[in-house]
């Protein structure tokens, strides 16, 4: 990132003051995570005796063991990953041909189709969950992976992003592939898909993290351990009347937030790009 323009105009004194303030800012954002980590290694007597002691007396793993005993953690983890991967892959698989038709092909009704896709941005999960729940209940799909994945199979944001990216691909390239006898299916998934890789990776990560973190939809669509996801399970730790057993809640929270933070650490650039492109 470039920012020299403002830097040269600053005096060393204000630079120093600004740095101190920024150190405080970093503390406000990082200390809660460290606090969570520290609490998760404490024991119940420690929490009762000195709840705000900054460091645990040792690395006690009792809280993590308690989390594992109170819920099928591996199952939740698996469910969440399958759901998030399923949604992200479905969205891309569905959006690629749609984006291709919208960006490259001329046909009657193209404007209407594009308008419909964009219009769904107006209909968030909170608006549609009641009827969708009723519909899925009718066909017996409540408490299934399908109920978690299919309603998110199409992403207006993803379709829009892919369409934009495809508009800058020259027509001649597609025409040449057609001359070589490639089918449209092959052109879309075999030629254009790999070409759009950076866009697709950014969108994939964005969608994956978003749905991995999602709480609302799994909450209203599942009642059963078999399909429950991790955010739900971890939030339940708190609802079970844990009282002062904060070390257990925080151990669960470490397990829930670590994957998201890891993705963030490794793919910060991609996530930032996805957010910026939303604007």
């Amino acid at each position: 990132m470039s920012g020299r323009e403002t830097r040269t105009l600053r005096s060393p004194l204000t630079d120093g003051v600004v740095n101190v303030l920024l150190g405080l800012v970093a503390a406000v954002w990082l200390l809660p995570y460290l606090w969570m980590l520290s609490t998760s290694f404490k024991t119940l007597p420690e929490i009762v005796r000195a709840p705000t002691a900054p460091l645990p007396s040792g690395l006690d793993l009792g809280a993590y063991r308690a989390v594992l005993e109170s819920m099928p953690l591996a199952r939740y983890f698996w469910n969440t990953t399958v759901m998030a991967l399923g949604i992200a892959f479905t969205q891309i698989a569905v959006a690629l041909p749609a984006g291709y038709a919208l960006a490259k092909l001329k046909f009657a009704g193209r404007g209407v189709a594009f308008g419909l896709v964009v219009a769904t941005l107006l209909i968030p999960a909170q608006v549609r969950f009641v009827p969708v729940f009723a519909l899925l209940a009718e066909v017996g799909w409540v408490n299934t992976m399908t109920a978690l994945i299919l309603p998110f199979g199409v992403s207006a944001f993803g379709t829009f992003l892919i369409r934009q990216a495809l508009m800058s691909v020259p027509d001649s390239l597609i025409e040449a592939a057609r001359m070589d006898g490639a089918s449209e299916l092959r052109i879309i998934y075999g030629l254009l898909g790999p070409m759009l890789r950076p866009t697709l990776v950014s969108f994939f990560l964005f969608s994956f993290v978003y749905h991995w973190n999602d709480y609302f939809w799994p909450l209203v669509m599942t009642t059963d351990d078999a399909v429950r996801t991790l955010p739900l399970g971890i939030a339940l730790l708190r609802e079970q009347g844990t009282g002062v057993r904060w070390h257990i809640v925080m151990a669960g929270n470490v397990l829930l937030s670590a994957p998201a933070l890891a993705v963030f650490a490794f793919a910060q650039r991609h996530l930032l790009r996805a957010v910026a492109s939303k604007a």
């Binding site: 041909p97 896709v117 909170q126 973190n213 957010v275 910026a276 604007a279």
Partner: protein, 288 residues
């Protein structure tokens, strides 16, 4: 380009359109229809006309949901934008330290709402929480942040600001980097100080970004649910019962689908209005 076969666009758009109709447009119409019925999910629905809307207004539930949502949105939008802008201005430089602070703030946007809610539930705990301890140590007044009906909504707003300030910071940073350096040089040559440069150069050029950030943050805060569900369950004394939580409560706790649908319809109309605002802001951004 012409499709190589006439019906190609049909299969390419088919899955998208089917999913849109089944999971977006039909549910929306269904919600509008359900709002005119009384339905408990078990017995057959009964047509009641506008009774659901009338009951929501008469019981004060609609007004209450609106006021909590509006207060929270106002606090969150103003707070996260001011913080995001301040951070963007301070962090718009290439040092490693600035990069570190940027990542720290933005990380909260990536972590789940549930994580953030649990984290702050512990920090704000009335007896043993770190914030309470800090306030006591500094001899500042403290309260049962989440248990006091006067403070709970603001505590949740604060947590939401913590979560999304990184979002507005990132967008403001992108906006700042689009401002040509020559404008600052020209302003300096004219003898403009830091404040004057901000008022005359930075802010006017950042205004379209600000409008966009403002409307998207407004929509995010209108849809707040997770922090409420995890931290306060709408309480104490319904003081944090925001719109989406009220909808959820009507369906899953009261089994009143008609009432919930009426709330959904009002909520949708509000979102429509907010989006119109966003489009307008976006147009302005495009024109700038």
């Amino acid at each position: 380009m012409r499709p190589s076969r006439r019906f190609d666009p049909l299969w390419m758009l088919g899955p998208t359109l089917v999913l849109l109709v089944v999971f977006f447009f039909v549910p929306l119409l269904q919600a509008a229809k359900s709002s005119l019925y009384e339905w408990d999910l078990l017995t057959p629905p009964r047509y009641v006309g506008l009774d659901n809307y009338r009951a929501l207004i008469d019981s004060g539930e609609l007004g209450h949901a609106l006021s909590t949502t509006l207060i929270m949105s106002a606090v969150v939008v103003v707070g996260s934008m001011a913080l995001g802008l301040g951070l963007a201005l301070a962090l718009n430089r290439p040092t490693r330290f600035a990069g570190f602070v940027r990542s720290a703030v933005f990380s909260a946007y990536v972590v789940s709402w549930v994580s953030v809610a649990l984290l702050w539930l512990w920090v704000l705990d009335a007896d043993a929480g770190a914030l309470t301890a800090l306030c006591r140590a500094l001899h500042l007044p403290t309260t049962h942040w989440l248990g006091n009906p006067k403070s709970a909504l603001y505590a949740l707003s604060g947590v939401t600001i913590w979560k999304i300030a990184g979002y507005s910071m990132v967008l403001f940073l992108a906006g700042l980097q689009d401002i040509p350096r020559s404008l600052y040089e020209a302003a300096s040559l004219d003898g403009a100080g830091a404040w004057q440069r901000f008022v005359n150069v930075t802010w006017p050029l950042l205004r379209p970004t600000a409008a966009f950030v403002g409307t998207t943050s407004l929509i995010i805060s209108f849809q707040v649910f997770d922090v409420v569900r995890v931290m306060t369950q709408g309480g104490p004394v319904r003081s944090t019962s925001v719109f989406v939580y009220a909808i959820y409560e009507q369906v899953f706790l009261n089994l009143r689908v008609g009432r919930a649908s009426a709330l959904v319809v009002v909520f949708f109309v509000l979102l429509l209005g907010l989006t119109a605002l966003q489009l307008w802001a976006w147009r302005k951004k495009g024109a700038a």
